[in-house]
């Protein structure tokens, strides 16, 4: 059984990937810096304050989250993981995207060859419904199908 959610495409695109879910704010710098530093191709989440994601692989996954938090270097960090081809397959926000994540997503869209669809405003119900390991399909119009 699958369920559809409609959000706003911040960076339009399509993909299919396995979900990883953060119910709290996702700290971009804390999550990506250590795995990148150690050359971890799976990008296992380095944020020990994120009980949902700590040590789980993030590369090529459908990252489901309410918003990002943390350092204002967050945008450049996201740009870097995209440049290094170890970014999440897509980023799906239940809330309105924050300025740091938006910066990173837009920098990646304009300055790398990576297509990382980003959809926001999917609603609280989306984050309550989606679980780790579920299959996610993103359409260019911001429709997200969870199965």
């Amino acid at each position: 059984m699958s369920k559809e959610f409609k959000g706003r495409p911040v960076v339009s695109g399509s993909c299919t990937a396995e979900a990883v879910v953060s119910h709290g704010g996702f700290n971009t710098l804390a999550s990506f810096q250590m795995p990148m530093m150690f050359g971890d191709k799976k990008i296992k989440c380095g944020d020990q304050n994120n009980a949902d994601l700590y040590k789980k692989p993030l590369a090529h996954k459908a990252l489901c989250l309410p918003m990002t938090i943390g350092s204002t270097t967050g945008g450049m960090v996201l740009f870097t993981v995209c440049s290094n081809n170890v970014a999440p397959a897509c980023m799906l926000f239940s809330e309105h995207i924050d300025s740091l994540a938006a910066s990173g997503a837009i920098l990646a869209a304009n300055w790398t060859d990576v297509n990382m669809p980003v959809v926001d405003q999917l609603g609280d119900e989306f984050l309550a419904y989606v679980k780790d390991g579920m299959q996610i399909t993103v359409a260019p119009d911001g429709t997200v199908t969870v199965s």
Binding site: L100, S103, N110, W111
Partner: protein, 426 residues
Amino acid sequence: MSMTLTPEQQEMLSGAQGETMARIMKTLVMYGETFGAEKMVPVTSQYGHTVISFGIGVMKPVYDLYDKLIDSGAKSRQEFSADPRPLDKNIPTTLLQDIVFKKIMYPQQARYEAQLQKLGIMNDDAYTCACYLPQIGNEPKRGDVLSWAESSAVVYANSVLGARCNRNSGMLEMMGSIAGCAPYFGFLTDDGRKADWIVEVKCAKKPEAQLLGSAIGMKVLEKVPYIKGMEQWLGTELDDENRAYLKDFGAATASNGAVGLYHIANLTPEAKDMGESLIREGAPTYVIDDAELERVKANYPCVWKNQYAAPKLCFIGCPHLTMEQLHDWTDKVVSGLEKNGLEKVAIPTVFTTAPAILKEFKKTPDWPRLEKTGIILSYICPLMYMNNPLCAKQPVITCSNKLRTYTTAKYYTTGDILEMITGGGK
């Protein structure tokens, strides 16, 4: 694109000024449209500021992109300052740490500093997170539109100086400085500067700035608080002592939450002018008393493996210390050591400040007094120092709530830190 652009901005977007400038403009337009901006406004501050001060190895794509910008002739329209450097040979390190810093962590440092010179950094001393301090010369005026990203500088510029800046990301802020414009949304608008929360401070004594900021940041997250009850301690004038207090307070609100603007009744410029008319209808109230501050402090996680480990290093000055704070700390440390019958600090301690302040302070009679205590004075960014597995394992203490948030450093109040470094806690 639905944003209305000026002819010059449209020309940039259409590629008349080259492909790179077109992509810069497209990036800024997409960013603005995501937040409903209908236009761009000129960046009006005399100087810019960039949060990226580090040539960190894993961020090589950033420096590759900056090469592209420079090769295309791009340059910031304003000279700018940058966050603190990540390395200082005066900080005690082991051989292994030295290798990690230079070969693994920051091998791009020289390349990046050369890029900053080409892009327009103010001077070789312009590396500090507290760029708005008078000795640095990058103090925006009220109403100035900025394209900055450093969270502690953005919240200070918005709240204490009345300038207008969103919480931008690194790189994006540089693109705004190059294009000379910023999308008009959020804190750039009058409506975006209204208060979403009322905070009533009902403490028995003046609250520790970094603890109060932490409590408020954690509660209101990215919203704007209007804070009442501080007049009995701060008065109604923004003197040096108050500015230093608000610098530390704001940094904690921005790092423990995501606050980009706060108002303090009868003190900060917009609160003085507009009073409670700044508060949105129906704004909820958060009451802070001493018990609430204790509760917040008690809930900080300690990520040391051995939480009873003896501290090996202490950092004071995140954000960088003001000149007045350096004098004040010197007096307190010297008195504390005298009281405890010691000559040198009991824990290796680093005070961090802007290079320009460091140089000026070393000309004052307080420098030999401080030097005698064994305290190291540095321009380093403590956060950058801590941000690697080797240093992260060290038991480091601090009275900075920003450093606590982003690293494994353990937070103590300024009073506790003073006791510990002067040997009073034995």
